[in-house]
Symmetry: C2
Subunit: 319 residues, 2 copies
């Protein structure tokens, strides 16, 4: 079983409006509401791969109850710790002429006692877990070191952790020694405090240097998603780059979450890094092509697996 | 006790954003969620006047549960009939530079069996009701004659009805003989199929003629809200116009709902029409000045009561 930690889940509401009046009253033609948050996408992807998962996180209020109910309908097992604050909503307006506006609530406050109750359940769940994925933003009430705490607990229980976060939560989480961290290029740039791209794409040497710093800080492996240039893995065994022939278009958030899911899956299966990266790139591409994060067509996944190229990156290339 | 029928309640979500990016991701600085729908505003206003109320309507899904919970927190007694469909949300984005965009979901489908279950509870509630207010849009699943049916039931139980609706629901509801219908100028124009305003404001003669048609169709009295020109009541005892010295600015929807509440209150108290209209105009003005529909400052209400002027409109003025 893979435990998926989603501390700040959301109810994602989408309104489709033929021609939005940004200064008036609109009556959407179609309305969708589904559970969201990066961790939930990871869990749904793992479920679709046939992996047993348990979503763990914090939910509160009516919106939290809505997230739990909708997740139940999707058949994703979850054990949420209830909190007094209200689970956040995200609201997206899709205009028939192509514009999209999104409004993301920050999430609830979380008390120290509530986070302690979560940790107690998390510690019990680690006993039966082959890996844990920690994914997405922290609710504003939690300290930036929260992922680091959870990674230390996983390490103490001999459970490898995959971390997909950004900013201070990523920096401090990486220092706690997770098996894999998965920043995208912008997140790695923000952490390194310098540009890692040049005209035309990522600066591989710069990315490798920033990944090396993250590994020196504590992360055992760093997989950076580079958009059109695929994935770059920096590990104790070497470096690999995986690319799809066509650049990944579509749902970038969903694609990144699928990459995290595939990395956790490959970790549990004990796949060698080159194959682990091939599956991650293929699943990312297949998910980007699907209309909803957390979903992919098995045929797209199979085709992408055949098309992905993985090459080892020599030390001299990136130093 | 006054029964307030709110067949299509809503969860009103408002996001305040300093400077909205209509083509990007926004993180609202403040988020408010409260129960909405015109009937709920009427009920809250009546509660604030010290009147016992019972909100009756249809709720479904998680959003419906949220509306019920929030109404409970506000101390408004309610007896909702649960339906399989999902209660609607309205979503409003308020930009710090003054623009406001609103997105109103239509509401749930309602089966014939669900509406029959509602009617059975409604019939029982009529026994203890001094009046009933029917307010707001019908959910898309209900036939346009639904308010007419409920007014006929009230009449059979000797309970006077106040109807605040628009379009076909208003036309058919008026034909069922309610004590008062309360259109605004635009709603009366839509029903009459002709313009009732001239440069500078409402055409009183035209409004009176359209109100006469509504009375001939079945409504016992018609109170039309005219914005800056106040309220015009057309009744079997004569016609009155109530005006506030300063035009009513602020929350127009909330003001209209307060007028409906005050008309029902005056009806139950047996106030003469001139006084009934004075209170309605004053409560509308006080509510327009409040930040939230369904609320008003008692001091504003008292001051407006002193300032409102009511005059009888002679037949020759409007024919």
């Amino acid at each position: 079983m893979i435990a998926v930690v989603c501390l700040n889940p959301a109810l994602d509401v989408t309104h489709h409006v033929t021609a939005v009046d940004w200064a008036g009253v609109n009556r959407p033609g179609a309305v969708h509401a589904r559970p969201g948050g990066k961790g939930l996408n990871v869990a749904r992807t793992l479920r679709a791969l046939g992996v047993d998962v348990l979503v763990m996180g914090l939910t509160g209020g009516i919106t939290g109850a809505g997230v739990e109910a909708a997740l139940g309908e999707l058949g994703v097992p979850a054990a949420f710790t209830r909190i007094a604050g209200e689970t956040r909503r995200t609201f997206t307006v899709v205009d028939g002429r192509g514009a999209t506006a999104a409004f993301h609530e920050a999430g609830p406050g979380v008390t120290a006692a509530e986070f302690a109750a979560f940790r107690a359940r998390y510690e019990r769940a680690l006993t039966g877990s082959a890996a844990v994925v920690l994914s997405g933003s922290l609710p504003p009430g939690l300290p930036a070191g929260s992922y680091a705490t959870l990674i230390e607990m996983a390490t103490a229980a001999c459970v490898p952790a995959v971390l997909d976060a950004h900013g201070e939560a990523l920096r401090r989480g990486a220092a706690a020694g997770p098996a894999i961290v998965k920043p995208n290029l912008a997140e790695l740039e923000a952490l390194a405090g310098r540009r890692l791209s040049a005209a035309g794409g990522a600066d591989l040497t710069g990315v490798a240097a920033a990944a090396r710093e993250l590994r020196q800080a504590g992360a055992r492996a760093v997989v950076t998603s580079l958009g059109a240039e695929g994935l770059l893995a920096a590990t104790g065994d070497g470096r690999w780059q995986a690319r799809t022939p066509a650049p990944v278009a579509g749902n970038a958030t969903g694609a990144g979450d699928a990459v995290a899911a595939a990395l956790a899956h490959g970790l549990v299966l004990g796949r060698a890094w080159d194959e682990r990266l091939r599956h991650a790139a293929a699943l990312g591409a297949a998910t980007a092509a699907a209309p909803v994060a957390g979903e992919f067509s098995p045929a797209d996944y199979a085709r992408a697996l055949r098309e992905v190229t993985v090459r080892e990156v020599a030390v001299e290339e990136v130093s």
